[in-house]
Amino acid sequence: MNKSIMIVGVGGQGTLLASRILGSALLSKGYDVKVSEVHGMSQRGGSVVTYVKYGEKVYSPVIGEGEADLILAFEQLEAARWLSCLKKDGKVVVNTQKIDPMSVVIGDSVYPDGVIDAVKNAGATVVELDALPLAVEAGSPKAVNVVLIGAMAKNTDIDKEIWLDAVKACVPGKFLELNLKAFELGYSN
């Protein structure tokens, strides 16, 4: 049975590295893997989504409505935006960080209250964590992505060692220590 994971967030939060780590971990488990990313304009502070699918044989690289087993959301609003892609019994791992879209910044719309409650009320199983302070604790606010990968790793059936190897394979050497710490903080919180 194939599994589908979505990584959603705001351009610049490092969702592409997260999907690479995830892809690498799944590959070493021997799965057929497809990872779909969108590059270009949507990187600039826009809503971004990466699809990761794995199993015996994967065809489509994208995930549609009601197809995701797990959504890893780097930002609250993005969890709500992409929730329709979640399966009825799916799980959402969400960073409680809020990033205002430009329309909110300039007062054209409001950042809604109770986003995470709305996600829960829709029937999703929700795991929340505040990744930014953990990333700062690990040594850089930019490590939010690896903290979140740690948090998600705990919610999969893949051994921790495989995840750690994947982080090592995907992160440049000089940032490795920082990122391993970030992974641990995400995994254990």
């Binding site: 590059h39 270009g40 502070g45 489509s60 009601g66 205002d100 430009m102 054209d108 809604p112």
Partner: protein, 577 residues
């Protein structure tokens, strides 16, 4: 060995393994990574060209001289390269030549949704379309064999989901057969009418030979494949739609997968349709395969049940073909849209704010700075195509000369070199009272930081000749060239105002490197002194994603702020420190 490769990486790998020796491209999402990856192979001489036409001509010249060559571009880039494309179909090649073209159904990062398969048909050039990374690699290699065998360039069509998805691809070794001998042959390579008349006959014969290939050999080698399962539903498809169809329908349907989308076979399609009860054509964008099916007299269901716009998906196919809907969950909350914005510290921000102060009409162009259209800046009136801002401004000013001192064009450094300079020559030559602003951020930004002829570095990051924008503008006949720093709002306002009042052709170069460049040093993040902040929201007028209002006062996100000081110049109370 199998490796998880991006579709674009797999194309590059396939070209490499097939002995490609020369590659020239212009960046364009979603095609860019093909040439970026090629640049890492020392056996291939790779370059960024000023535009796609140049890239295609470089690849053509290399192929005629005997080197397997490549040029890559996005769909709209093929419009620019269309001139060499059409006639290279007549001349043919010597060593193989592959033209990679990436379409963008759904317009993830494009200005239109054109279907490049029409170019294959119009130029009578064979086109292959892979569905995943493994096929990207295989088809790239196959394209060279077909190019040399049929003496034609080959188009390799990708779409965003194929280019930008990672899947497993079988990687092999490089085989380089060396340079092919070039033999002088004006009848073949010099397209004067007398020679071209003869070559057109060759082209038409070649298409017939290729159709024969598609019916027979292409089936034997798997390029075109037939898979019979349940025959109640038949699917004719190509590229990414095959993956969607397989996921949606599995064994409930039979498949005719076309790896070659031009020319299309006749007998193969007719035989498949005879076996199946109801046949669907699954293809994104135009009804290219469907029209062919109807022309050869087979009954298929295509666009009447699907769509000419946007991307297909397994969900859409399940719904239309099987009538199945999926259950999905929805959060009961209004989610505001989150379109892309100019980055914090982006040098374009100060410039667009200045244009807003000057209340001018802005003829825009293609690049990151197209985001200047978004609120709260909202400073773009037209965007058409690469280079179109400059010539478009001239046209606007011809139509309404009284407003010429209230109109500007904005164009990036790379886009200016691509095709803006010809518009500027038009302005100088015809003495147009037009002000062109070149947004020189020292890189090709939108596509992810590629070097270009103005940056002083080549594709490998080695020092290279740099076009001096000032000297180039002067050389084409512009006598008023100014340079401003877009972080300095007063300087921008004064200088652009002066240029507009000149009543003569003028260029303002707004120069400041892209804030995301690793070589750029930033100031420490700014902070709002909450005691001094009067909540006037002046700092919100520049649309910086690092600034927001929290509890009635401005707040700067330290993780995003790059200390550009544009906002602090707007604060009358000195609250931003």
């Amino acid at each position: 060995m199998k490796k998880l490769l991006l579709g674009n990486e797999a194309v590059a790998r396939g070209l490499y393994e097939a002995g490609c020796r020369v590659a020239s491209s212009y960046p364009g999402t979603p095609s860019t990574e093909i040439t970026e990856v090629i640049s890492k192979y020392d056996e291939i001489t790779s370059e960024w060209a000023p535009n796609e036409k140049v890239a295609a001509e470089v690849a053509f010249g290399a192929a005629v001289a005997g080197a397997r060559s490549f040029c890559g571009m996005k769909h709209v880039g093929l419009n620019v390269a269309a001139d060499p494309l059409f006639t290279s179909s007549y001349t043919g090649v010597n060593a193989g030549m592959v033209i990679g073209v990436a379409d963008d159904p759904g317009m993830h990062s494009s200005q239109n949704e054109q279907d490049s398969r029409h170019y294959a048909q119009a130029s009578k050039i064979m086109m292959l379309e892979p569905a995943d990374s493994d096929e990207c690699l295989k088809y790239a290699k196959m394209a060279y064999e077909l190019s040399e065998r049929f003496d034609t360039p080959i188009l390799l069509r990708l779409t965003t989901r194929v280019s930008h998805s990672r899947s497993l691809a079988e990687v092999g070794e490089r085989v380089d057969n060396g340079l092919k001998e070039y033999v002088k042959n004006p009848q073949k390579y010099v397209m004067v009418p007398a020679n071209a008349k003869g070559k057109h006959v060759v082209v038409e014969k070649r298409i017939l030979d290729q159709i024969e290939y598609c019916e027979t050999e292409a089936v034997a080698n798997g390029l075109n494949s037939v898979e019979y399962n349940d025959k109640k539903i038949g699917v004719i498809t190509a590229g990414i739609c095959y993956e969607y169809a397989k996921e949606a329908l599995g064994d409930k349907a039979s498949y005719l997968k076309l790896g070659c989308v031009y020319p299309l076979p006749e007998k193969l399609i007719k035989d498949f349709c005879k076996e199946c009860e109801t046949v669907y054509v699954l293809e994104e964008l135009d009804d290219f395969i469907e029209t062919h099916c109807k022309k050869i007299g087979v009954e298929v269901i295509g666009k009447s049940a699907f769509t000419l716009q946007g991307e297909y998906s397994q969900g859409l196919i399940r719904k239309v073909v099987l009538g199945e809907d999926v259950e999905s969950v929805k959060a009961d909350v209004d989610v505001p849209a989150r379109p892309p914005v100019l980055c914090a510290g982006c040098p374009h921000r100060g410039l667009f704010y200045t244009l807003k102060r000057l209340n001018v009409t802005v003829s825009g162009d293609i690049g990151c700075y197209t985001l200047g259209v978004a609120k709260p800046l909202g400073m773009m009136d037209t965007v058409l195509c690469m280079g179109g801002s400059v010539s478009g401004l001239h046209g606007r000013n011809l139509a309404n000369p009284d407003k010429a001192n209230k109109s500007v064009a904005v164009i990036g450094d790379s886009t200016f070199i691509h095709s803006g300079v010809t518009g500027l020559i038009d302005i100088a030559y015809n003495n147009s009272n037009s002000v062109t602003i070149i947004l020189d951020n020292s890189i090709t930004g939108m596509t992810g930081h590629q070097q270009n002829p103005t940056t002083g570095y080549n594709i490998k990051g080695e020092p290279a000749a740099a076009v001096s924008l000032e000297k180039l503008c002067e050389a084409v006949g512009i006598n008023n060239v100014f340079v401003v720093d877009p972080y300095n709002l007063d300087e921008c306002y004064t200088t652009i105002g002066k240029a507009l009042d000149l009543n003569a052709p003028a260029v303002v170069i707004s120069r400041r490197p892209c804030a995301l460049l690793k070589t750029v040093k930033h100031n420490p993040p700014l902070k709002v002194n909450k005691d001094k902040c009067k909540s006037c929201k002046m700092c919100m007028k520049i649309g910086c994603p690092a600034i927001s209002m929290k509890d009635g006062k401005a707040e700067i996100d330290f993780t995003q702020c790059l200390g550009c000081n544009v906002c602090s110049q707007l604060c009358k109370f000195g609250a931003i420190e």
